[in-house]
Each structure stands twice: as C-alpha cells, then as structure tokens.
C-alpha cells in the first residue's frame, strides 16, 4: 500500500508528539492539584495530598458549592434535553411531515450560533420579561443548546435501527407502548446514553452561556473564571482532575467493552 506518508516514521512520530502536546495542560492541572500552596497555579511549593483529602475546606466550601451547582444543572438539563431530543430524533427519521426542512434548520442553527450570541439572546429575553436569573435560567439555557446535539447523536442510532424489528413486535400484537418499551427503547439506549453523556459534558463545561444567565449563582467554570485574576485554589484542580479521571475511566471502559463485544460477535458469527 502506497500513499502520501512523508517517510515511514515521520507520521507516527508527529502523531505521538501532537498527542503529547494536547495532554500538556491536563498534566499541568493534575500536577498542580498536589501543590502545597493556597493558590495552585502560580509556583510549585512542594507536594501534598491535603487538597485531595480536604477538597471542600477552602473558602467555606465555595469550590464544592459551585461544583454541586454544576452537577445539578448538568443532570436536570441533560434529562430534559435527552428526552426532548430523542423524541425529535425518532420523529425525524421515522415520520414524514410538513416543515421537515424548517425543523432541520431550527435544530442546526443553535449549533452554528456562537455561544456568546446564544447567551446574550437569552439574557436579553429574560431581561425584557423581568425573569430573575438563577439556577432555573441556567438550566433553561443549557437545555436549549443541548437539544440539537442530542438529536444528531440519537438520529444516527435511529437510522441504524431495523424497522422490521418493530414490525415484528406489532405483528405479535404488541401495543405501541409495549413495542417502544421492549424493542425500540432498548435498541436506542446506547445512542441515548451517548447523547446524555455528551449533553452533560457540554453543560458541565459551559461558561459563556452560563455567564450571561446565571445572576449570582456560581457554577464550577464560573468559579474558575472569577478566581482567575487572584489565583485558582488547588482544590479546583483537584475537582477538575477527579472529573477528568472519572470521564476517562467511563470512556475507556465503554471502548474496551465495545471492542470485546465486537470480538465476541465476530467469533460467534
């Protein structure tokens, strides 16, 4: 096989270096979570486990409160966005209806709009309606930008679902609810879970839209933004590192189990 490869070694070496480059700030954040200093990111003052053991000790637990807010917002926004988005995805793939092109455009536009515009738009709307900004407005905002991402993720799964399976369910006198609960939903579940994870990750890490619609409520990214000028406490690095490790474990487990399943199926087939 010949192809444009710039020499046999250049491409693999470049790729390894590129991945190392991508990891640099992550390793930096992790290392400085062990920094024996109040402000984590300035200079190295020695190794300590303290910050990992007493994450909530700093500033009366302000970091943990912000983290908790982000978790609540992420979970609620994910549940709503995943439900609404999955329904839309099923309708888009399975049914013919008028305004189909309009619906697709309405779903595409939030993804093609810069976050600062989405954030300012919602803030202008809440302002003109006199809605006070709190947890609710953040959740409403996050749900909005997550829906489109859920739709595209679940749509791929619905498109790969064989309609004959549902037909068989109906032929066996399954009610629509039974067919959905026993056939459609379980088969869509991996796609729905992937969409939920994506939605949670987007919500958890969002700062720009949150900043416009959060009022006095502090989320984890907002906490970091506010602390940036006077120095980030090492506890923030601890939380970020812990979330990183957890996410990595989830993704690697999913990858490995998918690979194992593929292997098993290959052996059986």
């Amino acid at each position: 096989m010949t192809r444009f490869s710039l020499g046999k070694w250049l491409l693999p070496v470049y790729s390894a270096l590129a991945l190392i480059f991508l990891m640099i700030p992550i390793v930096y954040t992790f290392v400085f979570s062990f920094n024996d200093s109040l402000k984590s990111n300035i200079t190295w003052r020695g190794f300590t486990f303290d910050k990992w053991l007493n994450v909530c000790a700093v500033q009366n637990g302000a970091v943990c409160e912000a983290f908790g807010n982000s978790l609540i917002i992420g979970v609620v926004a994910t549940v709503i966005a995943t439900t609404l988005g999955t329904m839309i995805a099923i309708a888009l793939v399975r049914y013919r209806f008028r305004f189909r092109a309009g619906t697709s455009l309405l779903l595409f536009l939030p993804m093609a709009t810069p976050e600062v515009v989405l954030g300012a738009g919602l803030a202008a709307q809440f302002l003109s309606l006199g809605v006070p900004k709190d947890m609710l407005t953040i959740i409403l905002a996050h749900t909005m930008f997550c829906i489109s991402f859920v739709v595209v993720t679940v749509k791929a799964r619905v498109a790969g679902l064989d309609p004959a399976l549902e037909e068989a369910g109906r032929d066996l006198y399954g009610s629509p609810a039974q067919v959905f609960a026993r056939i459609t939903f379980p088969l869509l579940l991996p796609g729905i879970l992937a969409a939920a994870l994506l939605s949670f990750a987007l919500s958890f890490d969002d700062f720009i839209i949150t900043n416009f619609n959060s009022g006095a409520v502090t989320t984890f990214p907002k906490y970091i933004y506010i602390s940036a000028s006077r120095g980030i406490p090492a506890e923030a690095n601890v939380i970020a590192s812990a979330v990183f490790i957890l996410a990595l474990v989830i993704v690697v487990t999913a990858q490995v189990s998918a690979a194992a399943r593929a292997k098993r199926q290959a052996r059986q087939g």
């Binding site: 991508l22 954040t29 909005m144 991402f149 990750a201 990214p221």
Partner: protein
C-alpha cells in the same frame, strides 16, 4: 464534543425506512420544537429588538425603551471595528493552524492505524481527553506555561530565541495559540471520521496509474476528505470567532487583543449597554452566517447542512 453533530450528518443513512404520515410525529416533535422556539428563536428576536432600543429620556444606566434606533449599529461598528476585524482574523488564523495540526494526526489515526484497532481507539480517547477537563483550567495552564517567569519563557530567553524584554502572554500570539489549542479536537474528530471511511483502493488505484504519492494525496485524499475539512473548519471557526475566554485579560489576552466576545460581555454584563451588546451579537451572527453560507456553497458540501 460537537463533532458528533457534523460527523453523523456527513453520513446519511443508506436506506431510509418507509415513512408514515401520522399525528404521532407531531406529538414527538412538538415539545422539543416549542422549547427551541421559546428559548432559541424568541431570544434572537429579543436580541434584534434590544439592538434597536434607545436610552430612556432620563438616560438612566441600564434602562432602555423600545425604539427603532438603527444608529446603534453604526455606533458599535465605528467604535468596535478593530475588535470585529480582529475576531475574524484570529478565528481564521486559528482555524488554518488547527487544520494544519490536525490533518496529519487524523490521517494517522484514521488510515495508518487501521491495522491496530486498540491503538486507534486509544489515540481517539487522547484526542477527546481535553473535553474532560475544564476549558478554563486548560487555558489557565497555558497562561502559566507561557508566562514571563515560566521555565519555557526563561529558557527561550536564555538561548536568545526570545528577546529579553519579550512577553508571550497578553499578545496576539498567545490568544491565537489558545484558540488553536482549544479547538483542535473539534477539527481532528470530523477529519478522523471521514478519513476513517476513506477507501484505500482509491489510493492504490492512483498508485497503479503511476501517480506520485503527493499527486494522489492532492487529487484523491483531499477531495474525499472534504466533508471532514468543511465540518472541522466550521466547528473551529464559529466558536473561535465568538470566544471571549482566550482573549480575556485574566487568561491569554491583553489590552490590544480583545475580541468581539469580550466587548459583548463587557457591554452586557458590566456597562449595562444592552443595545450595543445586542447589536454586536447580531453583527457577529450575520457575518458568521454569510461566511459559512459562502464557504459551504463554494466547497460544494451543501448536503452537510
């Protein structure tokens, strides 16, 4: 992780199932569509109305009344045109750099590493790994690494690669660097998904017809990976043009590197000049839609949308 959006639309389902007309479709669509109308479309309308507002007759800070003051647009363009130009300039440079960085990497993962599925998935996990850690903390880490007292900068100065009085943070360099770094995964993933589907027999055919490796790359690989290039550049360019974290003074920016996002934030949240912030937002969105429209049309990948 917006890549999912574009990668899956790039590959339409092979055989669409028969579609039925039914009220079920309406019931499934209605809640979600209503939600987007209420919290996406209506806010855009609000934004347009706000951008045309006029100060109240007493001129109270943060108080405006509905009007049709299109002069707001003239005023913000006059005042902020350097920021507007800078935003698009930075975003374009960052997009090109991210593409140059990502293409070889995506090619290696998607084409060369096909023989080793485990390596392939491991590398993919590393590409998306930055998504698992806070965007703001990653950017702050770079700020520290590029700061004047850092090991990197002092070493560069020691070997005279950098002038003794030079700074990296607070410059256009560091803002573009941050934008490029932060949006690389958005570029690599769509590139990977199209390159991963690239049929190697096309490349062999090119070779059989005595094309040089470079010629095959230019006339076969690049055109076949065009959907990935378009998706990746859009996913990088759009958020980069509106970003205000990298260019913030507390992060990688300085006084002369402020982008349109920073100006919108300052006007909306600090100066309470809502009409100016809204007008700038509308300008940003319009310019992006025009650029995206022209780009997608010229690259011949309309089906992507």
């Amino acid at each position: 992780m917006a890549f999912a959006a574009f990668s899956s639309t790039a590959a339409p389902p092979a055989d669409a199932p028969p579609r039925r007309r039914s009220n079920v479709a309406l019931l499934l669509l209605l809640p979600g569509i209503l939600y987007l109308v209420l919290f996406f479309l209506a806010p855009l309308v609000s934004l347009i109305l706000t951008s045309l507002q006029a100060p109240t007759e007493f001129g109270d800070i943060g108080m405006y009344s509905y009007a049709f003051r299109w002069e707001n647009y003239v005023a913000v363009i006059e005042q902020y045109w350097p920021h507007i130009l800078r935003s698009f300039g930075y975003a374009i440079v960052a997009t090109v750099l991210a593409l140059a960085f990502s293409y070889p990497l995506a090619y290696f993962i998607g084409v060369t590493a096909r023989k080793w599925p485990l390596l392939q998935s491991l590398m993919l996990v590393l590409v998306i790994a930055p998504f698992f850690i806070s965007f703001l903390l990653r950017t702050l880490a770079w700020k520290q690494i590029l700061s004047d007292e850092s090991f990197l900068v002092t070493s560069l100065k020691a070997v005279s690669l950098l002038a003794p009085d030079a700074h990296l943070t607070g410059t256009a360099f560091s803002v573009i660097f941050g934008l490029t770094y932060n949006f690389i995964p958005f570029m690599t993933l769509p590139l990977y998904t199209t390159l991963e589907r690239l049929d190697l027999r096309y490349l062999e055919a090119g070779n059989d017809l005595y094309a040089s490796g470079f010629h095959t790359f230019r006339t076969v690989t690049i055109p076949l990976s065009m959907p990935g290039i378009v998706a990746g550049t859009l996913l990088t360019f759009i958020p980069a043009a509106g970003d205000y974290i990298n260019a913030s003074r507390d992060f990688l920016g300085g006084a002369d590197t402020q982008m349109i996002g920073n100006v919108i934030e300052a006007n909306f949240l600090v100066l309470l000049n809502y009409p100016a912030a809204a007008a700038l937002s509308i300008i940003l969105m319009t310019v992006i839609l025009v650029i995206v429209g022209v780009y997608v049309k010229r690259s011949g990948t309309e089906e992507l949308l």
